[in-house]
Amino acid sequence: MKPEERITRRDKIRNFSIIAHIDHGKSTLADRILEKTSALSQREMKDQMLDAMDLERERGITIKLNAVQLTYKANDGEEYIFHLIDTPGHVDFAYEVSRSLAACEGALLIVDAAQGIEAQTLANVYLALDNDLEILPVINKIDLPSAEPDRVKQEVEDVIGLPMDDCLLASAKNGIGIEEILESVVKNVPAPAGDPEAPLKAMIFDSLFDPYRGVIVYIRVMEGTVKPGEKVKMMATEKEFEVQEVGVFTPKPVAQKELTVGDVGFMIASIKNVADSRVGDTVTHANKPTSEALPGYRKLNPMVFCGLYPVDTNDYNDLREALEKLELNDAALQFEAETSQALGFGFRCGFLGLLHMEIIQERIEREFNIDLITTAPSVIYEVKKTDGEIVRIDNPSDMPDAQSIEYVQEPYVKAEVMVPNDYVGPVMELCQKKRGDYIDMKYFDENRVNIIYELPLSEIVYDFFDTLKSTTKGYASFDYELIDYKESRLVKMDILLNGERIDALSVVVHRDTAYERGKVIVEKLKKLIPRQQFEVPVQASIGQKIISRSTIKAMRKNVLAKCYGGDISRKRKLLEKQKEGKKRMKNVGNVEVPQEAFMSVLSMDESK
C-alpha cells in the first residue's frame, strides 16, 4: 500500500467495543451487528457468534476476546471498516477488558431498559473513560413490558454524568435500532490517529494458542505498519520473532499483506508460548524499534490460589499435561508442583479470581476427564517473621508458627455492591460478618443504593457472591478491585482427622473468629465424612492447642438385611453404587474423605 492509501484507509476505520453488564444483551447486539454488516452468511451465523468456547456459551460469559472486521456502507454512501472488539464481562478479567478497550476509539454502552445500571456497568464505563473512549449510550430491551427507558436515561445521567440527549434506543433481540447504532458509530467514533510510516507500535490485547500455528497474537496497530517477513520484538519480554502472517477476522481469519494504523487483527510469528505475547505488551520492529512502549502494560498476577489434586493418583501426569495445555492459552494461569501429605502429588495453581479458578477446574474435569480434589481457595499472605524475613504464603499449610510471626498482612479489596434500598441491611450485615470496613453509601435515586466496603480478599473468595445473591434475592450486583495489603490478626488453624494433621484442610482465619470457625468446620466435616469402620476424632487446632473437637462414630451396621426376592441385580446395583461412591473419596490418614470436604472448610454457613 502506498502511504496516501494508508491514510485514506485509516480515516475510514472505526474501532469500538460493546460494554455491558452480564445479561444486558451484549452478545445479542454483536450478533445483530454482524448480520447487518453481512459479515456472515446465514448458515454460518450461529447465535452469539463471538462466544467461542462451549463453556462460555453455557455460562453466558465471554472469556476470550475476539475482534471482527466488518464493512459497513453508511447512509453517506461511503464504505467504512469497523472493528468490533469483544470484551469479557467479568471482574476477574478487568485488566483484559481495559486492554481491549485501549484498542478502541469508541464504546457502545449497553444498559438494560428495565434493570438500569449495575455494578459492572459502572466499572466498565470507568475503564472506557480511562481509555478516553467516545461512549455511545444505548438503552437496550426497550420492547420489554417492564422497560422504563426514561427512568434509565435519567439514571445514566445522574450516576455516570453522561449526556443522554442523543442516547440510542434499541432491542437487539428484535433488531430494533441497529442501523441507528451503526450510523452513530460512523458519525461519533473518531477515526484512529497515528502515523503509518512511523516505527511500529502495536498493542497486544489477547492471544490464543493454536496447535498448528503456535500463538495467534491479537494486535491493534497504533503507529507504523507490520508485514510478514519482518522481525518484531515484544518490548516487555524483549523476545524477537519473525512474522509469518498477518490478517483480520471476518470473523474467519483472512490473511492480509500488511496491518497498518487503526487495524485490528492477528499476527502469527512461530511463538510457542502465550507467555511470550503478554496482554498489554507493545510489538515493535526489531531493527527499527519505537523509543517508547505503549502505556498501561502490567504483568498479570494471580490473586487466588488453590491446590488441585487428582482423585486418582494415577492421573497426576494427565493433570500436569492438562495444566500445560491450558497454560498455552492462558497467560494468567500459574501452577507449580506441590506435595500434600494428605493428598499426595498435585499442583498449587494461581488464578485471576474465583471465576477464573472455576473455569479452569471445570475445563480440566470436562475436557480432560480428570476427577479433581480442590483445596479451599487461598490468597497470598505477607508474613513478617520475628527474624525480620518477609515471606509470601499462598498455601495455608505453609504458614509459619505463631511464635515466629511478627505480623501478617492480607490483601484487601474495595467492593461496590449495588442493591435496591430494601436490602441495605442484609448487605451491610454480610459485609460486617466478612470483616468489612464500611466506606461509603451512595443513593442513585430513592430506590437504588451503592454500598462501598473494604473487605479482605480472603473473605470474598469463597461464598461471598453466592450469599450476596441469596440474601438479596438476586438483586445485588457486585464488583471489586484490589487495593492494598493490610495487617490482620490472622492465625493458621489445622484440622486433625484421627489424630493426624491434614495439611490440605488447614485454613488461615482471623483470631477473633477462630473458635467459632473451628467449631463450624469440625461439625461440618463430621457431617460430610461418612462413618468409617472405626471411630474418627475430628479436631481443630491452633498451634498445639485443640480448640474444637468432635467424633465421627464408627460404622456399626451396613448390611442389606432386606429380602429382594430373586432381584439380584438390585443388590448388585446397591453394592456398585456404594463402591463408586468410595472411589470418589480420598483416603487420608486411613479415613475416607469425600471431595467436597476439602472445599467445605471455607464456608461459614453452617447449613451448607
Binding site: Q533, R556, N558, L560, K562, G565, R572, Q578
Partner: protein, 380 residues
Amino acid sequence: MTKSLYVHVPFCEQICHYCDFNKFFLQNQPVDEYIDLCNEEMKKTIESFPANEKVSTIYVGGGTPTSLSTRQLERLLKDIKRNFQINHDVEFTVEVNPGSAEEEKMSMLFEMGVNRLSIGAQTFDEKLLKAINRDHHPEDVERTVQLSRQAGITNLSVDMMFGLPRQTMAQWKDSLKAVCNLPIQHISAYSLKVEEKTVFYQLLRKGKLPLPDQEDEARMYEYMLKELNLKGFHHYEISNFAKSGFESRHNLTYWDNEEYYGIGAGAHSYIQGVRRANHGPLPKYMKALKNNQLPYFEEHEVTLKEKMEEQMFMGLRKLNGISLSKFEERFGKSVYTVFPQVIENLKNEQLLIEAEDRVKLSEKGLLLGNEVFEKFLIGD
C-alpha cells in the same frame, strides 16, 4: 437345572408404608384375568425353557397372596401344579398375611399341597403395626399359626422387622419373646430399609421419620442373634434363623446362585444363564401376554465375571459362607486368583474368617456385610 419357581401375586388390601415391591391396591383390579395370564406365562415359559428336572421348591409371594379369594388362589395353585413337574419332596411355600388368614383358605392350601407358610408378623407391638400400616393385630399371628396347624400345615416361618420408627429395644425384646413362644421352625428378620416411592420415604425426606440410629439397630441385631440362638433357632443366613433341618430351601436357591423360574408381574427369573425381569405394571404385563409374548421387561446374560461376583456376594450371606473347592470346581479358577488380595485384606480387617475349605463372614463382618460384598465386585 432350574429347580425353583417363584410366583408373584401383586395385590394387597392395604399397602404397608415401607413396601416398594411390585404391588397394587386390590380393589377393582382384574384379578381373575391376571390369574389367567399367569397361567399363560407358565405355559409359555415351560415351552421356551423346558425343565430337565422336576421343580423342588415353589414360593408364592407378594404383594399378598392371601388377599385373593379362596377360589382364586386355588386356581393359581392348580395352574402351577398343572404346568410344572413337581418333585415329591417339594418345599411349597405361600406367604400368608395374618389379617387375611381364614380356615377355609388354609384348608385349601393344605389340600393343594402347600407344606410351608411364611407369616408376615413384622412386630407384635400394636402401635408399631399401625405405624407401618399393617392391617393385622398382634393376636392375629398366633391365630394364624393355630389355623395353619389345624389345617395340617406345620412347617411355619414368621417374618419380623426391626429398626422401625420409634421402635425401642424393649419393644424388640418383647416381639422376639412373642415369636419364640410360637410353635414355628423358621424366622426371617429384616431391618427396615427406607426405599424410594414409599410413604416412609416421603416422611424421611420431610424429616418426620424418627428411625433408631445405627447404634441401636446394631444392638437390636446383636440381641436377636443371642436370643434366637438360646431358643434353638440357628442362624444360617444374615437375616434368617431355623430349627435344624428347616432352612428355607427356596431362599437357598438365591444364595447358592442357582437358577429359578419367575412368574407374575414384576417377577425375576434366572434361566440358562440369563436374568430377566418381568414388566411390573399390570397393563404392560397383561398386554404382552395377550399378544402372545413373554412379558419380559429386561434381560441380561450374566457374564462369567458377574457369575463369580454373585457367587461371592450372595454366598457370603450364608453363615457357613462359600466353599473354596466348589468355587474352583464351578469356575475353573480359585477364589484367590479371581479376587487377588481381597480375602487377605478382609481377613486382616477381621471381617472374614477362613476355616478349612470355607470362607465366611466374621461376627463383625455380619454387621458390615456390604463392606465385604463390595470388595467382590471386580470393576471394569
